[in-house]
Amino acid sequence: MTYLEAIRTAMSEEMQRDDNVFVLGEDIGKGGVMNATKGMRDRFGEWRVLDTPLTESAIVGVAIGAAMGGMRPIAEIQFADFIYPATNQIISEAAKIRYRSNNDWYCPVVIRAPYGATGGGGLYHSQCPESVFFGTPGLKIVAPSSAYDAKGLLKASIRDNDPVLYFEHKKCYLYVSDEVPDEDYTVPIGKAAVKREGGDITVIAYGMAVHHALKAADELEKEDISVHVLDLRTLQPLDQPAILEAAAKTGKIMIFHEDNKTGGVGAEAAAILAEQLLYELDAPVIRFCPPDIPAVGMSPTLEKFFLPTADRVKEAMRRLAEL
């Protein structure tokens, strides 16, 4: 099953299971501009697959109200690049409702945000806005890389009693396909997954970067470099024990993501290592990330320059292994 189907299936199954679950967003009735909700309006009706006006703050704010009122809304942001008008509703409201009310109210909302570059998206259809919301206590953030995790984490997010920002990588939609069981299952929020065991270097990644890392690791195996790959899966709360364990395994750590380097999730991961694993590091921590420029240029040459690729990350991994 593709990553995209996994998302659709998770939503459909949860809507089937629980009448309180519904989806709202722009153009989702016709299936969404990404096809994530394809066929769902026919199945669940237009109130449960609700085409909203073109207003992100309202999509999130109305979802928050409905969530406090007992429903379990899934708010779709058409592109993660367009999530910023909803920042106030996410940071000032969703994230603080339980805390400020001293546990009297809570807000089980899921905000789905398709992110990342796919080729030909340009500055405003390619962004990785994780770092803006990362570090907002009260919010959970997930970013699956496989179809299995996409489904399991989305189900867990819908059932979670706190707001979850669900970053789905657009490049994964059709590029990624893996086994997804028919039975109901969830993937726990807050747990990273070892995607590959190895002894020479550790790569910590999430989203599309996981696939680049795995591909590079396969190739490096032929050069007798053994790579351990950890997929964070949840960005907040970070799975600290898993990060420390994976890092300790090799002592040589590369953190790899598509979001800009400065202030990204990788900074926190590196900080955790500097705080808690200093004596077991055999080489400086490396962050492999795109340069600190505002976003992906649209022209193919610019985009290629910006985006991490398996080739480029392999180079960097080899260099780390050789240190």
Binding site: W47, T55, G65, A66, M68, N88, R98, N102
Partner: protein, 340 residues
């Protein structure tokens, strides 16, 4: 001697008892407010934000709605509103004193209401955000056929926030059962209405295809009527209503504000004379519902309640410091968070 209008409340469907209760609630809010100001000045508490001049509209609205059934999304001046839909003055005092027993556990500034049991939805400080939540509650009501409305208030300053407009449009498109009430007290801190609001708040409703109603916020019965009609419209599926209740903010913006930097004593005095509580009191006298003796009795009762509440809250303990760490997230997966 009864005035020509003396039967208004009955024509609107309010009993004498309810009307007296409305008066009591206004008075309770007013006395709480005055006491809170004094307490803050004495240095015992950090901050108070006053509602003086807005009580009549709030009580009028509250009585047109159904307690513990409709949803209330008040803004920070709505003491009289929350007192009318279930909160006690002791609870307001606990919030003022930031004590552990406060609904919010002393976490939030006073005036940031929230009380699940009473369907009072938790509020934040950034103005206007609650309008979208109200739309969300009304969407829930429609989808789940709850037959209830969401009632939300905000200042005329807040009415300019993007969220308010997006909320109007969203509710208008789906004809949702929500009532928007702007408490236009003519100032947003120091900025007067004409420098804040282009056009008139009430006229914005037409742009979203639903009715806008402008009422005298000092006339509790007028507000009652408007909210009641709005509620009926909402429940019969005819969509939202915007009510602009025109009033005046008698006190400075908050205990941190010096209003003499931007308005005159005379202007304030002029408006103080329009007090909606005083006119409601006169109306009750005219109707024969209230007389000097009963009024003294009500006032004494209200004062006693305020006294006791202040004393209780003053002596109540602060939250334990480590309480700060609780409730960032649900404690366990099954924890739905609410205490009720």
């Amino acid at each position: 001697m009864s005035s020509p209008h003396a039967g208004r409340h009955r024509q609107l469907g309010l009993t004498d008892e309810q009307t007296l209760q409305m008066y009591t609630n206004m008075l309770l809010a007013r006395k709480f407010d005055e006491r809170a100001t004094l307490i803050q000045r004495s240095g015992k508490t950090a901050f108070h934000i006053s509602s003086i001049g807005q009580e009549a509209a709030q009580v009028g609205a509250a009585f047109a709605l159904e307690k513990q059934h409709d949803y209330f999304l008040p803004y920070y001046r709505d003491y009289a509103l929350v007192l009318s839909v279930g909160m006690t003055v002791r609870e307001l005092m606990l919030a003022l004193f930031l004590k552990a027993e406060d609904v919010n556990g002393g976490r939030q500034m006073p005036g940031h209401f929230g009380y699940r049991k009473h369907h009072i939805v938790t509020a934040s400080s950034p103005v206007g955000t609650q309008v979208l939540h109200a739309v969300g509650f009304s969407l829930m009501s429609l989808i789940k056929k709850q037959n209830c409305v969401a009632f939300v208030t905000f200042g005329e300053g807040a009415s300019n926030q993007g969220d308010v407009h997006e909320g109007f449009n969203f509710a208008g498109v789906f004809k949702l059962p929500v009532i928007f009430m702007c408490e236009n007290n003519r100032y947003a801190i120091s900025v007067p209405e004409h420098r804040q609001v282009a056009g008139r708040v009430v006229d914005r409703a037409a742009g979203y295809g639903f009715p806008g109603v402008r009422v005298d916020g000092n006339d509790a019965l007028e507000v009652y009527r408007a909210v009641k009609e709005a509620r009926e419209r909402a429940l019969r599926g005819a969509g939202p209503t915007l009510i602009e209740a025109v009033m005046y903010r008698i006190a400075p913006h908050s205990t941190s504000d010096d209003d003499m930097l931007y308005r005159t004593k005379e202007e304030v005095e002029y408006h103080r004379e329009q007090d909606g509580i005083a006119s409601f009191r006169r109306y009750l006298f005219d109707c024969g519902i209230l007389n000097e003796e009963l009024d003294r009795h009500v006032t004494d009762h209200v004062n006693r309640e305020v006294n006791e509440a202040a004393k209780y809250a003053d002596q109540a303990p602060y939250p334990a410091p480590e309480q700060a760490l609780l409730h960032v997230y649900a404690e366990s997966a099954g924890d739905d968070g609410c205490r009720s």
